[in-house]
């Protein structure tokens, strides 16, 4: 049944949208709107500010944490950049400005750039694979599992390994992938291979697989939360309008979760660029990484060189992140 037009005169309701003169008096505004009043008037902040918020109290709360982060995070990162311009000595460094640490990196004899290239390529592959593996997982949990409590239960089961030791997770790949490891013995038992595969451990392939396993939850988590927060009625509306499942996904779901995808990609990329334990344990000695380089240089007391390599790593990570974001922007325009 069509709703009768309630507006008595045009002018009376001009600029008064939502309030109609002949609307029954008691329901002109919904309760929900009323509940939001305070929030609207207050203007948006991060969280609702507590009462009696004086500047001094804020400062006192801020001080311990800020000092801690300053001493143990900001200062070390800055010191790395500073020391990368110091001159190396046998026992460490002296505070004499030089750019030789960087020129050593860019000289032809250095393997640093090729190592960096490998690590960057690996990181890009790891990021892509994490997305391909992780998105369907997040989608399944957030969209296909109908009961919220089941979805979150399963999500937590998937999340739990993240909090275990990266070292032990790397260690666990050794009995899994080695010549006499689980995968090789299973493949042999069911007759797919006759000789164990050596590529499964101490190889670049092994490093990529292990990094994916280590970092994939950084991809799943933000996508999952974005999907879970997604208004399912938007998807259902698209369905009602006759769009196929695939088209709904491409045109509605995927664009709406771009933010989560971007956060996931940045996390996975950055963390795999700086990885140390996986390259060391799963890669054996066969694959170089910047983390390994830095550790070696530190053990040789060549701190300025280590600092320069770390600084370039950070720059490379920043470039990677910018490229990722740029790519996302381009997608947005298409």
């Amino acid at each position: 049944m069509p709703e009768p037009e309630l507006t008595p005169t045009k002018s009376a309701t001009e600029g008064r949208s939502g309030v109609d003169s002949v609307v029954p008096g008691d329901i002109a505004l919904s309760d929900a709107a009323g509940a939001e009043i305070y929030g609207e008037e207050k203007g948006a902040g991060h969280l609702q500010a507590p009462p009696g918020a004086s500047k001094l109290v804020t400062l006192l709360w801020m001080l311990p944490g800020a000092l801690w982060l300053l001493i143990f995070l900001v200062a070390p990162v800055i010191v790395v950049l500073v020391v990368s311009f110091f001159t190396g000595t046998i026992t460490g460094f002296k505070e004499v400005f030089t750019t030789s640490n960087y020129s050593a990196i860019f000289s032809g004899s250095s393997t640093y750039l090729s190592t960096l290239g490998t690590v960057a390529r690996n990181s890009a592959i790891v990021t892509a694979v994490c997305l391909v593996i992780g998105y369907p997982v997040a989608y399944f949990l957030a969209v296909k599992v109908k009961k919220t409590q089941y979805a979150f239960g399963l999500f937590l089961i998937a999340l739990a390994p993240f909090f275990t030791s990266t070292l032990i997770r790397a260690e666990a790949w050794i009995p899994t992938m080695s010549i006499n490891g689980a995968v090789n013995s299973i493949l042999k038992d069911i007759g797919i291979i006759h000789h164990p595969l050596g590529i499964l451990l101490f190889s670049n392939f092994a490093v990529i697989v292990a990094l994916v396993q280590l970092l994939v939850l950084f991809m799943v988590t933000p996508i999952f939360f974005q999907l879970a927060a997604l208004d399912r009625s938007a998807i259902e509306a698209a369905r009602d309008l006759g769009a196929s499942g695939f088209r709904v996904f491409m045109n509605v779901t995927l664009p709406l979760t771009r933010g989560g995808i971007m956060i996931g990609c940045v996390f996975v990329f950055v963390l795999s660029m700086g990885d140390f334990a996986t390259y060391k344990l799963v890669g054996g000695g066969s694959v170089g990484s910047i983390g390994l380089n830095i550790q070696n240089l530190v053990s040789l007391l060549n701190y300025p060189q280590a600092a320069a390599q770390a600084a370039i790593l950070v720059v490379a990570m920043a470039i990677g992140v910018v490229l990722l974001l740029r790519f996302a922007k381009l997608q947005e325009q298409v």
């Binding site: 005169t9 008064r16 008096g25 203007g43």
Partner: protein, 390 residues
């Protein structure tokens, strides 16, 4: 508890400040009694939430601030309670400025929108909290808290946590928690927002009775017109940070002063047109639906003025057929729908392209339902036409 029915009405003599419940020490001298807002303004960065509002509230008065979401009513309440500081102007209670006084030091307390009960404390713990903060010894505060819990009828639930109470019970705890501190002024922020309709209706009566008993002023914020009309001594209608109209429920309802109030209060037919004729005590307007005549005493209107008028839906009469008997205040229209509301019937009509609304007694139900889709004549008296400010 002092029972002061006689001061519930708006007769505010300066002495009435002394009528606040005993126990506050009475150290405050009573000059300029009641609550006074003087040109109060509040900005949130660039947004002006409250713009130059002045208002006086007498002791013992029940005032409802009514308006749509974002109109500034909650901000005013929060400034009275001290949870927000005015950008400009002054808030005075019994002649003393409250600006800069923290909420803890004000003789006002607030019942918050979702009650804001302490989830980790029992009913008793919640009610005792304010007394404990005042440093009242344990025996004394337990006694007073229990009295108050008794008053709201929750004695048997005193050890329950808020999560184990129903919405109505939570509301009672919220009331007991603030009343036990014997405030001079009680502020209520959408107090019924979380209750179902039947409970709301009951709580309206209970709250009003309680207020009469206590004899203190209540300032109540709501967006619900019906709630405001049923409870207030005076209603303050707000929109866009401004007061639109202040008046008794009857005044607001019967004589809305401007287009916003007429539209917001609902059940008004708002018509626009040009003044065609001004003769002694009577003005005829050529409205877009037809000729409308209204009684105007000393009219400042002259022929050719653009005016907006309102006709309340329950002043509209309706007869079947379309015989036109008079030149003004009578329209031929088509009935589009009828709504049965229990005690009344709403009839939606259409005159040309304009919708009209009539509210008629329920005994005409059968007749009116039969009118759907048919033509009818709507009419009203000159005296029912109200001139609105733009």
């Amino acid at each position: 508890m002092a029972s002061n029915d006689q001061i519930a009405e708006t007769t505010a003599a300066p002495e009435s400040a002394a009528q606040t419940p005993a126990g506050n020490g009475g150290e405050e001298a009573a000059h300029g009694s009641g609550l006074e807002l003087r040109q109060v303004t509040k900005h949130f960065s660039e947004v002006v939430a409250v713009d130059n509002v002045s208002l006086h509230i007498d002791n013992g008065e029940y005032v409802v601030l009514l308006g749509p979401s974002g109109c500034g009513k909650t901000t005013i309440l929060r400034m009275i309670g001290g949870h927000e500081h005015p950008t400009g102007g002054d808030v005075l209670l019994d002649g003393k400025s409250l600006v800069g006084v923290p909420p803890a030091k004000r003789p006002t307390t607030t019942v918050f929108q979702h009650f804001a009960l302490f989830p980790h404390r029992s009913v008793l713990g919640n009610v005792e909290f304010g007394l404990r903060m005042q440093g009242i010894d344990k025996q004394q505060r337990r006694k007073r808290a229990m009295e108050m819990i008794e008053l709201v009828g929750l004695s048997e639930m005193r050890f329950r946590k808020p999560s184990e109470l129903s919405g109505g019970q939570q509301q009672r705890v919220a009331l007991a928690r603030v009343l036990v501190t014997q405030p001079k002024l009680l502020l209520l922020d959408e107090p019924f927002g979380d209750l179902d309709r039947l409970l709301q209706l009951r709580m309206r009566v209970e709250l009003r009775e309680l207020q009469r008993e206590l004899g203190i002023a209540f300032v109540h914020v709501t967006h619900n017109q019906e709630e405001a009309l049923s409870m207030a001594d005076r209603i303050v209608v707000m929109e866009g940070g401004h007061i639109q109209q202040v008046g008794t429920p009857a005044e607001i309802s019967q004589r809305p002063s401007n287009v916003f109030v007429a539209a917001f209060m609902g059940d008004n037919n708002i018509l626009q047109g040009e003044v065609a004729e001004v003769s002694n005590g009577r003005t005829v307007v050529n409205a877009d639906v037809g000729q409308v005549a209204m009684a105007t005493g000393e009219s400042s209107l002259s022929v050719g003025d653009q005016v907006t008028v309102a006709v309340r839906a329950n002043c509209v009469r309706l007869t079947a057929g379309d015989e036109k008997r008079q030149a003004t205040n009578e329209l031929a229209c088509t009935v589009t729908a009828t709504e049965y509301l229990g005690d009344t019937i709403k009839v939606h009509m259409r005159a040309g392209e304009h919708a009209l609304l009539a509210k008629l007694p329920e005994d005409r139900y059968t007749e009116l339902v039969g009118l759907a889709g048919k033509t009818a004549t709507a009419s009203w008296n000159d005296g029912d036409v109200q001139l609105l400010r733009a």
